[in-house]
Assembly symmetry: D2
Homo-oligomer: 332 residues x 4
Amino acid sequence: MIIHLRKDIDQQKVQELADAMEGIIVQNHERQLLVTSSKHKQLASEFESFVVDHFVFDTDIQMANSFYGDKKRTVQLGHIQLGGSLNNTLMMTGPCSVESEEQIIKSAELCSELGVQVLRAGCFKPRTSPYSFQGMGLEGLKLLDKMRQRYGLLIITEVRDATHVDAVIEYADIVQIGAKAMYDHGILKRCGKADKPVLLKRGFGTTLQEFVQAAEFILSGGNPNVMLCERGIRTFETKTRFTLDLCGAAYLKHNTNLPVILDPSHAMGYAYGVPDLARACLAMGVEGLLIESHPDPSVAKSDATQQLDPGQFRELYQSLKQMAGALDMDLV
Amino acid sequence: MIIHLRKDIDQQKVQELADAMEGIIVQNHERQLLVTSSKHKQLASEFESFVVDHFVFDTDIQMANSFYGDKKRTVQLGHIQLGGSLNNTLMMTGPCSVESEEQIIKSAELCSELGVQVLRAGCFKPRTSPYSFQGMGLEGLKLLDKMRQRYGLLIITEVRDATHVDAVIEYADIVQIGAKAMYDHGILKRCGKADKPVLLKRGFGTTLQEFVQAAEFILSGGNPNVMLCERGIRTFETKTRFTLDLCGAAYLKHNTNLPVILDPSHAMGYAYGVPDLARACLAMGVEGLLIESHPDPSVAKSDATQQLDPGQFRELYQSLKQMAGALDMDLV
Amino acid sequence: MIIHLRKDIDQQKVQELADAMEGIIVQNHERQLLVTSSKHKQLASEFESFVVDHFVFDTDIQMANSFYGDKKRTVQLGHIQLGGSLNNTLMMTGPCSVESEEQIIKSAELCSELGVQVLRAGCFKPRTSPYSFQGMGLEGLKLLDKMRQRYGLLIITEVRDATHVDAVIEYADIVQIGAKAMYDHGILKRCGKADKPVLLKRGFGTTLQEFVQAAEFILSGGNPNVMLCERGIRTFETKTRFTLDLCGAAYLKHNTNLPVILDPSHAMGYAYGVPDLARACLAMGVEGLLIESHPDPSVAKSDATQQLDPGQFRELYQSLKQMAGALDMDLV
Amino acid sequence: MIIHLRKDIDQQKVQELADAMEGIIVQNHERQLLVTSSKHKQLASEFESFVVDHFVFDTDIQMANSFYGDKKRTVQLGHIQLGGSLNNTLMMTGPCSVESEEQIIKSAELCSELGVQVLRAGCFKPRTSPYSFQGMGLEGLKLLDKMRQRYGLLIITEVRDATHVDAVIEYADIVQIGAKAMYDHGILKRCGKADKPVLLKRGFGTTLQEFVQAAEFILSGGNPNVMLCERGIRTFETKTRFTLDLCGAAYLKHNTNLPVILDPSHAMGYAYGVPDLARACLAMGVEGLLIESHPDPSVAKSDATQQLDPGQFRELYQSLKQMAGALDMDLV
């Protein structure tokens, strides 16, 4: 149950209410909320005098529910607005990993050339093997910071575990929580207290219910700027790296109030399929696309097979621009 | 290995070659082929004088391989051509099941009104339970025949098992082999001998490799008119009925020479997501869409939740027409 | 709803009741039943005078439900009884395919030597590729018949599709419906009319609900001798061929009245894991084991990697015998 | 490649070798190792004079490989030894969560009564929803410490994220890394430096390859005491909570040198199936079982449906003891 509290009650009383209902106090710009387990279906009469409004839900998808607040949240990313009644889609591109200054400059220049506003690249890589490249870490974050300053780009980069979450929050414009980290309470709770927008990726073995509930950790922590990113789930099919779940994206669009971002690169795992899939994603009418591109994929230190080269990305971007125009959408 | 045989060798010799290599003799318009296991990588020198050309493959995806013949086959469905270098997408719609003459007339009239050329409806339903509606059977086929004659529509309907495959081949313009029947050798082999085009659906637990190999049964039986239909696979996610595998569709487009058809209705299982998914499918650049619609879904005897009502279908169809136009594609 | 009808009502009345409730009339030794959709929760008062007893269910798992009839059915396989309150487990072994008389004799002799009473081998192989060995067909059935007569073994062999179901029913003592054929209404309905026991394998993409409902087709056809066989489901894991679902086996034991058989060979796909898994299966307390063995797996025409050689099978069989003894079970 | 270095080379040289091969230096009791990516297949000749022995692998499963070192590692848990050539299986039981002193005393007393030596219970619960019970945290760890001291039990408890890993390492005898945390580099690397044995659970969407590679992070960190725990994977089947992957367990037994532990409780999700599955697990011949039990499951704050009550656990434990005896195994 989400309870909108009256503004004039004192904090001690708020805490009493929270304790009585085992609820979480959420402070946002407009008001103070108390969010309890969805098992609570009725407001006890002794609380009524402290409450402006309350909302009952079937499941613990509450603050993210499309029946709560605006049908679609507006999320602020630097100067860019997404969601709400805007009909725009954000393009984010860049390499899997920051590998060197030279490499990331080339990626930033490609963004700059085309007018792409968000540069993506990982510094703390959640690699499966301890014996492969683990990312450049803090040094990589500093290179991304340089790119932001030099090219005026927004930076999205991934937090791998709770030990460096503060550094990522400091350097990123958008904090990405990756597929392997999305159950990490250490990260989720810290991001709930952050003032940066968060892109939360669905785990490849994660149900839609669990996925949105992970977002509830951030929302109930006080950070309203959360986006959901579907990036492929693990199925029995192995000809492609993962299976992009666009039925799931349709579910998220319809049942949550959070902007939806799609990442066809990780889903497909092979560059040949990415352009067709990216066009399919745009046609879904989602708020953003995350596409991996690399100045020279053949020498990439991670995800070499799935990154587009600059020529492929340019061609895809033009086709998406044209398609967006034809469909009265705005590719930003 | 696919071997193109010289035209002037006699049939006894062809049979000897087939026996020696445990191969299948395939007769088509243009030539006689011998197709063997892909384990054969080299042509024995004593056969060379009988052979015009031969093609070696990694796996038993051979006749359907994009490295064999045209990159994309042209398939003839009545007066409609699909595939090849044509950039057109075929719309097929209608109810899950033929339920009554009144119902199927309404569906046929919707097609007729909008210019949709192919009416779909099932007569032999592969229901999971013996205690629910099993379809109208032969009576349903006769109603579909009437619609064809009255409205000039092409009919696609499903064969459930080998006991009625002859009847379906007789009455249908396009024979649909459903997701649960796609391993059925009785059906596959019979369709290989048929002169009707075949739409083969992927089983929900079927790998892409197995799926295309099922098409090889039909192709090697002598029927070149096969289309592959992705309709959702079974994954751990249960908020949607199945998971539409567009990564798999990208694989099929790239790696096979068969037209690709997509069925978002069965994948999603809920009408609310079908329009967005249908637009995504069209943006993939595939050869056809199969969309369930029903004069009144609320009273449908099967798949009630996923069928679009006439108003929803009209709206979707207009948006697809507009999108196709903008993308220089042709929705036929 | 399952309705036990009074014995003295005439068949015309029975038919009227069936039509009124869209139910299936089932005739068995003891009584006449009417089985309707589980949506029926109440018996209309006008029918009460024709009814001895009636049973209401949550889902269309009705005749196979552990709340209907005996908690566990007794199934008669030739002279062997399984299920009920017997605490015995049936061993069935033999090669994937009948390949030659010499080969199947060796397999039959291994059974005979050890006291295994049921010989398994396929004649109509549901191969994935048209270009590989498809089985010996009718000739194979005749060889199995010879083994039955010569060694006194019971024969279990698989029906692949409805075109040869009559032949398999004629030659087999136990009709096996394979994982790829288990949705085939042509086979299921024919087996419902047969007087042979049926071993129904779960499809690798099939839910437990669908699996048991497939058994309902046979049971409601009039054949009460059905066994359920779990043989591995398809998951994201590819280091093993399939994933043996023993949680599912526990579900079937608890929720259905049908004997449960386990096939660890197809699940694992590699001989090295079969003995440990077979011991685990026996410890589950199920009614039977299906283990692939071959006189010389290295030359097997199908499933070469997973078949045990005679030495491995002997060793496994002794360890199972010992374990059964220690656990007060009977390995028959 | 795993390289055994000569003892007499100085650390500067070791570091040079590590840098040259991008390898990890691993110090253990007996020797100093250098472990590199498995892409290295040959030792450069200039290194030969520093090397005692070296081992080449197909994949990055290296230190955990059954071809490296003993076929099965011996792991020391307090006074208990597991693995190696010992044929013993460790029982660990207790509730999902520490809920109160009274509750955990009852669980400890059950262990004490039966001779079970390891008490399990979670304090930092990786709950899916922020609005449900999150565990007692540090207070819970202190209660477990009390149980250790009072009843002489070993304690296994779970680390949820990197923010409290030090506390768990301090209080636990065996550190459990849960299914949702097993990709967490913050935890894995910290555990690599710990002197406590680690039980690593497989993620429910995790391949066997990834699972063992996660163990490589701990092993290559310098901690040789790692056990692998299979606890059910997520599949399309939803009648049970997860699907216990005993084919996977057979793979791990055969292909790694790490002790294997099985957790049927989380896999099944329902108490009714746990005893049969536990017996199946024991019959597999694994090194340990993790079974959830609770003084009163009906009031449990988490996992209520799957925990055995004391009576059910006693009965199961006796049957396992008897079975182990009959099979010449030792249940410790």
